[in-house]
Amino acid sequence: MTNVYTLLKITDKLTLQFGSDPTGRFFLCLVTIMWILVGIYAQKYKEHQKHNARFFTFYILTWVMLASLTMAANYLTMYLCFEFMTLLSMPLVLHNGTPESIAAAKKYLFYSIFGATLGLMGMFFVNTYGTTLAFTAGGVLDPAKIAGHETLILWVAFLSIAGFGAKAGLFPLHAWLPTAHPVAPAPASAVLSGCITKAGVLCIIRLVYQIYGVQLLRGTWVQMALIILALITVFMGSMMAFGEDLMKKRFAFSTVSQVSYVLLGVFTMNETALLGALLHAAYHSIIKDGLFLCAGTIIFWTHKEHVSEMKGLGRKMPVTFGSLAIFSLGLVGIPPFAGFLSKWYLASGSLSEGLPVLSWLAPAILLLSALLTAGYLFPICIHGFFPAEGEPEAEGKEGSALMLVPILILAAATVLIGIFASPLKDALQAAAATMF
């Protein structure tokens, strides 16, 4: 960490510190760009909803906390930002004020708080068994103090990491995601899926690499268990998406699955896998934000929320569905679109790690999931452009520039970053290297 700035010294060991490192900067840029794009989109979308002052207030405040989280230099600061981010993003979920949205917001709140509480538990133990709470490459635990308590520390590590995984939709704490997305306004769903889940990912990265340290965790049952959880999530998410008709919920399950790709890479604990993870974080943000913006556009103009109702809609909304097609191709992982490279690195990282069974199981499941992804994404576009004979065509029209331009930018990014992969890949490779 460089440029460490201490905002507040609460006690000797507890300080609020911010600093910048490559990983943090990456996430900061990612979420900020997404936030701006979705923000532009929301200027038009807001005609669809009430209480906009409140919406945008919390929208901006959530970004502030999220940005602060990316710049957090120690466990305490990260936890503080995490909690506040949860509290401030909750009103975005319940914005529409329906009973379902309020219930969904509470579910989001309590799953997140439960996860954060488990994460907090980690802090208690790190305080005693570690040298500092600040993020340090290689971990902060003191081998002398841990001696004799390894089981305890491993359990603490497992639970705290899985706890933060709640925000990232890791099984079994993922249930809030599919409930929250359909009821939230589209811009909110976009940032929720695209960016806020990445906060969970970042927290896990910090814990795994810079608090507990790869040396402690590599090869232990903790690593295996976490990878298994990630794989379950990958598979389950895709399966559930496959069967879901409500579009935003389908995308939500997709998020559950895709973010666990990232987590898989993080848990595999080698440079290649981590690179794959970071790349996929970027790709997924872009693509998922784009998907949700498209879904929002469709809802905005046609009030249709179910995929089955959208047959033939592509003809009426070509830009939207065209972008949708691009995003789908990217998410499935078809070169040269963004999405292929990350999966490649994830698979090779997993294979090179050498874990029993999981080494080959992970790539296999990734492949399976890719097929399922295709299965749940392609039909939308296909049926959108080529409805079957005799099916009634849906009504709709294309939207305003404010909504289309961000979508197009994202679509363009999906293509361009896929083709010109090197700059991003190099930057992220450097970032990943700092973690070891």
Partner: protein
């Protein structure tokens, strides 16, 4: 000279309060000035004693050859006295407005003020018997406050309170005398039981400890002796807030702290079977109180169960019998006092302004009473334990103390703490969400008569909110003050 000052600081509110029904003010203003003058004078005097006269000891009377009525100003007592003397003026101000439409106000403020002096008596006691004296007097002086409105419910609550409290105090008394007869000392002079601890006496002293633990545990709302607290929610809010979130219940916790560190000494308890038993009860109460709070829909009862749970955080910390446990417990004693009193004040403000008593009826209130619910949100977030508010620090301190102590019971307590944190968020944040986001179908016109309370009630709220934030970010002075207890309680350190 300082010894007499202790006596003055205790007797001034007691006599002032006792005189009130005799002076029988008719005019509201006259009563207000009188009461506030006494309360403020006492607080100021108390604060000056805490800061300047530490170490004073004063024997008032030798009751028998082995028992004195004595006072002392040590850091442990000063911490409690600090909490009480800061919060009493705020609560008195709040109570003026809250009770403005009530009857028998002279009697109410008489006993309310007397309780102040008696609580200070508990804080400044120099031995267990003196503390027992004031402990019993506290029960008697707070009883009329619970039964104040004279309804059937209030009388039942009063009887329940009396039965539980007297049972507990008598059991504690028996434990005290048991220690005394075996050669232990009841003085808070920190040599522990000294020579009384022999193999032969061990079981006897263990039993005596349990008597005192469960006896004082009644006021500290330990399961299964907590039953009086939720029922006492029928009392007027200033009573529930100050007395049953701060003065009375913290006296119970304080008493147990005195028994653990200043009568028995930490070394005796560490690792013993009674410590395990006590820790398990505390851990269970933490979870029990939280779950019951979550299930409860009556606003004040929900907060009462929350108090039950939080008191056991403090007990748990004390029972760890380590220096960190002591300081963590004291820190939570203060912070919880601030947070809980703020929460109760808001509940009271809601009741006072609109008559609503159930959490399900609070939809949209945040707009009608913005200051109150703003403070409620701050206090809730603090109680859940989100940094940088004060509640985080005390919970963190307790958990870290448990990790350092390293026993299985300690870890159990950490688990209880974490479960409780999650449930706390559930039972508090649902209120916050409901108040701010009542959802569609809410008719704003239904709240058009509900206005924010006047400055008597909102000023204390704002002051408390500021304290919660400032102490959360800059606790240095306070933690240092609390750390001063270690010199006494752990002389070897």
């Amino acid at each position: 000279m300082n010894g007499i000052a202790i006596l003055i600081v205790i007797m001034l509110p007691i006599l002032g309060g006792a005189l009130l029904p005799l002076l029988d003010f008719d005019a509201r203003k006259a009563r207000m000035y009188y009461v506030m003058a006494i309360v403020l004078a006492t607080s100021v005097l108390c604060l000056s004693l805490i800061s300047g006269s530490e170490g004073t000891q004063f024997v008032l009377y030798h009751l028998t050859s082995t028992i004195d009525i004595a006072f002392r100003i040590d850091r442990f007592g000063s911490v409690f006295a600090l909490l009480v003397s800061v919060l009493w003026p705020l609560s008195t101000l709040y109570a003026f407005e809250y009770m403005s439409h009530s009857h028998k106000r002279n009697r109410f403020f008489g006993f309310f003020t007397m309780s102040f002096g008696i609580t200070l008596g508990v804080a400044f006691s120099g031995n267990l018997i003196t503390m027992y004296l004031f402990y019993e007097l506290l029960t008697l002086s707070t009883l009329p406050l619970i039964t104040h409105d004279g309804s059937r419910e209030a009388k039942v609550a009063g009887v329940k309170y009396l039965v539980y409290s007297i049972a507990g105090a008598t059991a504690a008394f028996i434990g005290m005398i048991a220690v005394l007869t075996r050669g232990g000392s009841l003085e808070f002079n920190v040599i522990g039981l000294g020579s009384a601890v022999t193999e032969a006496n061990r079981n006897f002293l263990d039993a005596a400890f349990l008597f005192m633990f469960f006896g004082f545990g009644v006021k500290a709302a330990l399961f299964p002796l907590h039953g009086w607290l939720p029922t006492a929610g029928v009392a007027p809010t200033p009573v529930t807030a100050l007395l049953h979130a701060v003065a009375v219940v913290k006296s119970g916790v304080f008493a147990i702290g005195r028994v653990v560190y200043y009568t028995y000494d930490a070394g005796y308890l560490a690792g013993s079977i009674v410590q395990k038993v006590a820790l398990w009860f505390a851990a269970f109460t933490i979870v029990y109180g939280t779950v019951m709070a979550w299930k409860e829909l009556h606003f004040k009862k929900r907060l009462a169960y929350s108090t039950v749970s939080n008191l056991s955080y403090i007990l748990f910390a004390f029972l760890l019998a380590t220096p960190q446990g002591l300081t963590a417990g004291l820190l939570h004693m203060i912070f919880h006092g601030l947070m809980k009193i703020a929460l109760f004040f808001v509940a009271g403000a809601v009741m006072h302004q609109s008559g609503k008593t159930y959490v399900t009826e609070l939809g949209g209130f945040a707009k009608a009473m913005p200051i109150s619910f703003g403070v409620f949100t701050i206090a809730s977030v603090a109680l859940i334990g989100v940094p940088p508010l004060c509640g985080f620090l005390s919970k963190y301190a307790i958990a870290v103390a448990a990790v350092d102590e390293g026993s299985v019971s300690g870890y159990l307590g950490i688990a209880a703490l974490l479960i409780s944190a999650v449930f706390t968020s559930m039972y508090l944040l649902t209120i916050v969400v409901k108040a701010y986001f009542p959802g569609e179908g809410f008719d704003p016109a239904s709240l058009k008569d509900v206005k924010e309370a006047n400055w008597y009630m909102t000023l204390p709220l704002i002051a408390l909110a500021v304290l919660m934030i400032v102490l959360g970010c800059l606790p240095g002075g306070l933690t240092q003050f609390i750390a001063g207890t270690l010199a006494d309680a752990f002389p070897g350190l």
